[in-house]
Amino acid sequence: MISMLIRRLLLGVVTVWIVSVIIFAGVEMLPGDACTAFLERDAKGEMLAHCREAQGLNQPPVERYLSWAAGAIQGDFGTSMSGDQSISEMVGLRVKLSLMLAMGALIGGVPLAIFLGVVTGIWRDRPLDVFLSTGAIFAMTIPEFISATILILIFSIWLGWVPGIVITPADAPVLDFFPEFILPIVVLGMVMTAHIMRMVRTSVIEVMASDYVQMATLKGVPFRQIVFRHVLPNALLPAINVVALTVAWLLGGVVVVEMVFNYPGLGRMMVDAISDRDLPVVQAIAMIVATTYVCVNLTADVMTMILNPRLRTLYMRAK
């Protein structure tokens, strides 16, 4: 068991290391460097030299990678091209705001998704299931900018209940974003809920058809007890990984939603940085998002390993 955990952990570390190489090499391979990209047409003469000096671009790539990586491990990503601000500080603020959105969507969405998934799985092919499953396909597949636009049209333009755009500045206290963050959370929550619900539904259907649920029925176990004791623990185990993937997606890929609502989160910062060609900031965000992704998946794997008695003995025996 311990050796399996160590192995899984090492794999995570290796993945993060490969990510850092990809990010660094990817930026290196782009034509020009951070300074020519940022200064664009002004990139000549003294200004360029000065910029390169400030960003330490005059050193050989391997050395630059090492010092960048060493800084990244300590949470220091250097300074941004534009404002000479510490990247870590800038990003930290945005991470907090993105996290808030993600938490909002998770707290509301995950329990709802599991509940709906279980309900539709148990009473599959009934009208309720058909209705909810069709709804889930819509929620899952309609692009976020469309669902966001529809919600804005209905709830903020026609009904005027909630603001459709965020105007609070990024450095304002978190509570100031109420009620502006309601719509973004609803949009994110819808997509996420639909994904998890579908997965849970399939899993429940599979377990409901299993021999052990039939056996429990024929043992005279009341229906409610079958669901809670025999179906749920087995059906929800595989859901852990899907929840993890959705969490990782929420933390990293909600660019479109942040752009639609003008929400000053990490995603918008990323697009802004790319538009400004502020490559050090892009590198930092990429690194943070990728590491989060790896960590969340790692946690999910370890959790499944611990919660699933079958896997647990498998690994114990492997030892």
Binding site: L11, V14, T15, V16, I18, V19, I22, I23, G26, L30, P31, A37, T134, I137, F138, M140, T141, I142, P143, E144, F145, I146, T149, I150, I152, L153, I157, H195, R198, M199, R201, T202, S203, N241, V242, L245, T246, A248, W249, G252, G253, V255, V256, M259, G267, M270, V271, I274, S275, R277, V282, I285, A286, V289, A290, T291, Y293, V294
Partner: protein
């Protein structure tokens, strides 16, 4: 019951099998709706330039942001252009780009996945870490960096989408390969002494292909989503080319005055993506694959 042979007409050949699969798909209402939507969109993309009532770039300053009228079925946009004509033509670019990039992604991702699945060992393990690393980066970052650097021409977007969307395919193809390789008929072919290439072609591919078809349909829908998101963010198609994502983003500002500018393209894009997803579900069902069990990557 499983022991009974299905008495019936012998059907063989890939074409005939595709025929039965299509029939099975169309048999369920959702599959029929999905297929109809997809086919309708494809046909429209092909013929729209010849049937649209107005030129998509002709502006009419006297008819700005009008609602639906007899002349303009969906009204006009902020420049007085006919929304209906623009909606009809708005999927052409997206379908063309994804139509080329999807097979590209499936091809390279599929081949890579099958090879890694067969090779196993150290190489497989290292490559899978690289795949993980690529997957851990947000898609929009990967696309945007390249588009911002090299421009938004089709020669940039198609290979970029093809490359990045092929990476998750590696995983799927590799898993499917592992499933098939573990089965006795592959062992039987190995024991008979068939060459590696022959085994891949005859034993592996026909069985991996089903999974790949379903996967391809899903990749297509996600690629469309990515492409229209790029357009929506202003990094994809350049104006005045009609594109649903771009149209929504341009008309959003005028929503309080006239919602028709966003409604048209929203319905068009959503119906296409939903159509693809419904078809993918029906396809998976007809082929006996459980689509929802696949992880969302």
């Amino acid at each position: 019951m499983s022991d009974m042979a299905a008495p019936g007409i012998p059907r063989t050949g890939r074409l005939r099998r595709m025929g039965t699969v299509l029939r099975d798909m169309a048999a369920s209402p959702s599959g029929a709706i999905g297929l109809t939507l997809v086919v309708a969109h494809l046909v429209m993309a092909l013929i729209s330039p010849w049937i649209v009532p107005y030129d998509y770039k002709v502006m009419d300053s006297g008819m700005v942001l009008s609602g639906p009228t007899g002349a303009h079925w969906l009204g006009t946009d902020e420049f007085g252009r006919d929304i209906f004509s623009r909606v009809l033509m708005g999927g052409r670019e997206a379908l063309l780009v994804t139509g080329i990039a999807t097979p590209l992604a499936m091809l390279w991702g599929g081949m890579m996945g099958i090879l890694l699945g067969l090779a196993g060992g150290r190489l497989d393990e290292v490559m899978m870490r690289v795949v993980d690393a690529f997957l851990s980066l947000p898609w929009i970052l990967k696309l945007l960096v390249l588009v911002m650097t090299f421009g938004n021409g089709m020669m940039v977007i198609i290979p970029t989408l093809g490359f990045f969307y092929g990476i998750p395919v590696i995983r799927v193809a590799r898993a499917a390969t592992h499933d098939v390789v573990a089965r006795d008929f592959v062992s039987a072919a190995r024991a008979r002494g068939h060459g590696r290439f022959g085994i891949i072609k005859r034993e592996l591919l026909p069985n991996v292909l089903d999974t790949m078809m379903v996967e391809g349909a899903m990749r297509w829908s996600w690629m469309l989503l990515a492409f229209s998101s790029l357009s929506f963010l202003g990094f994809g198609v350049s104006p005045p080319t009609p594109d649903w994502g771009l149209m929504i983003s341009e008309s959003r500002v005028y929503m309080p005055l006239s919602p028709w500018g966003v409604l048209g393209p929203m319905v068009a894009l959503s119906s296409l993506i939903i159509g693809i997803n419904l078809s993918a579900d029906a396809l998976a069902k007809a082929m006996g694959i459980d689509r929802a069990r696949k992880a969302v990557v």
